[in-house]
């Protein structure tokens, strides 16, 4: 559980720092505008990621107006798959309903790449 919470926190920081450090990434951020939530199915752990006007930041909790939600069956599985180097693990998670993606898949897969 702690690992997942830490992962979500680090992901937010990674997003923000990459946005500051990388011109290419900033260009990418400029093209996008969305709100993405990553949470566990029981709602115990949730973090909202905002991308807008070339900036990215994260907040604790689940924003109800999210464009995309990644809902994990549990925190341990989420941490394991999000940190996995095997690109097919995310698809397997989707395929077995371990991970449910609501909304726009593009943002979900983009985030998973970032996490990896």
């Amino acid at each position: 559980m702690v690992k997942f919470s830490l992962l979500l926190f680090v992901l937010g920081a990674k997003l923000r720092l990459t946005g500051l450090a990388s011109k290419e990434f900033r260009k990418l951020l400029h093209r996008e505008k969305f709100i993405l939530v990553i949470r566990t199915a029981d709602g115990d752990r949730a973090r909202t990621f905002h991308v807008r006007n070339g900036r990215a930041w994260a907040r604790r909790g689940a924003e109800p107006r999210a464009d995309t939600e990644l809902v994990w069956c549990d925190a341990e599985t989420a941490a394991r798959i999000m940190l996995s180097k095997n690109d097919l693990d995310v698809y397997s998670a989707i395929g077995s309903s371990t991970l449910r993606i609501m909304g726009n898949f593009k943002y979900a897969l983009w985030f998973m790449k970032l996490a990896g």
Binding site: L88, Y91, S92, I94, G95, S96, S97, T98, R100, I101, M102, G103, F105
Partner: protein, 427 residues
Amino acid sequence: MGYFGASEEPRFDSDIFPLTGGTEEEVMAGLDEFEARDLEKIVGHSIVYGVQLMKDMDAARIAKLANMKFVRNNMLYKELQPGTLRMSIEVKRMIKEMLGYPDGVRVRLTSGGSESLYCAINAAYQWFRHEKPRVKEPEIVVPYSIHGAVSKWCHYTGIKLKRIPLGSNHRADVSAMEQAITKNTFFIAGSAPCWPYGLYDDIEGLAAVAGRHGIWMHVDACLGGFLAPFIEKAGHKLPAWDFRIPGVRSISADLHKYGYACKPLSSITFRGAEWEQYHEFTASDWPDGPYSTEAICGSTSAGPVASAWAVMKFLGEQGYVELARRCLEVKRRYTEGINSVEGLRCWETDLTPLVFQVPEGMDIFAVIGGLFERKVYCLPGFQPPLIKIVVDPVTDEVIDRFVGSLREVVPLVRKGDITIESIRPYL
């Protein structure tokens, strides 16, 4: 970029465009080589295997011959080709008759369902600009399950898209869609049926909403348009979906699906000239004077139009009804077979495609990969995870092979002998 998102980046060690041309034999041998690498024929709109694709192979053969006969005729200049022109007029007339459209509708032929959808949204947008020129951020409201081509067009044009979550029955949530409408909304749509689940949206409910708010209502019948009328003639009832519903201004329906025409060919039909006028566009701001086209594309081959004419004339209503009956039987056999495999469950869909769930916790991509390894093909649904087959009037052999492969693959996936790695070669 392919359907599954894979990108193609082949390597070439040298230039491949020849300095001097080859012989006909050499060229055809090259094409034979490509064909041999396509493991299975993917024809129609469904993924099927083997030689005996459909019950009525004669129709498929005639469609191909007709396509070849007219393949080099350019529909852009049909007015200069009286035969091609007459043929396309007859196809449009037969579309009206086949689909039971009322008098006064205006049919346009397009290159496919995507283009038909683009035409519908664009016509609605042009109408809205005329009605409310001051609106700065025009938007459309659609159910989550509407085809991805709608998202593509909105991306290309900058139109704001609101995809509204579905009801618990996986159909459009009419009330939620109505709540999402604002003064900027110019278009709503429903599917008949939707591609992800084979379910009809409540077209009557949506049309009533459109009527209350004075906005454009479109029905996406790309998948079911040419099947539904014949399914009903075969005695199977379907929800109402067409111009019988007041308020429906446009309908898209693909001839290259259950019209059995060669690809690419679809239709966009407007209820009348009063709505079609917003689709029309003539460019005149260039040296060559007025330039207008049937739809969005410029040059298109008359081949698919010829194939549609040929199949319509060859099959007649009787032939289409027989094929529709066969589709019902195919669906029944698939459902029976799939449900007999432990843990698998078919959804009850209104028409096509047929979708089924795998046991909880089982990875659909492992199952699909295992099927692909056995040269049996299907499609994934992501939300929720489903396996999808389009219901074509295929032979019993095709059904039996699919079900037999499932019976083999599912236990192996359960044991862990087949995993998602089996799908890697196809990504």
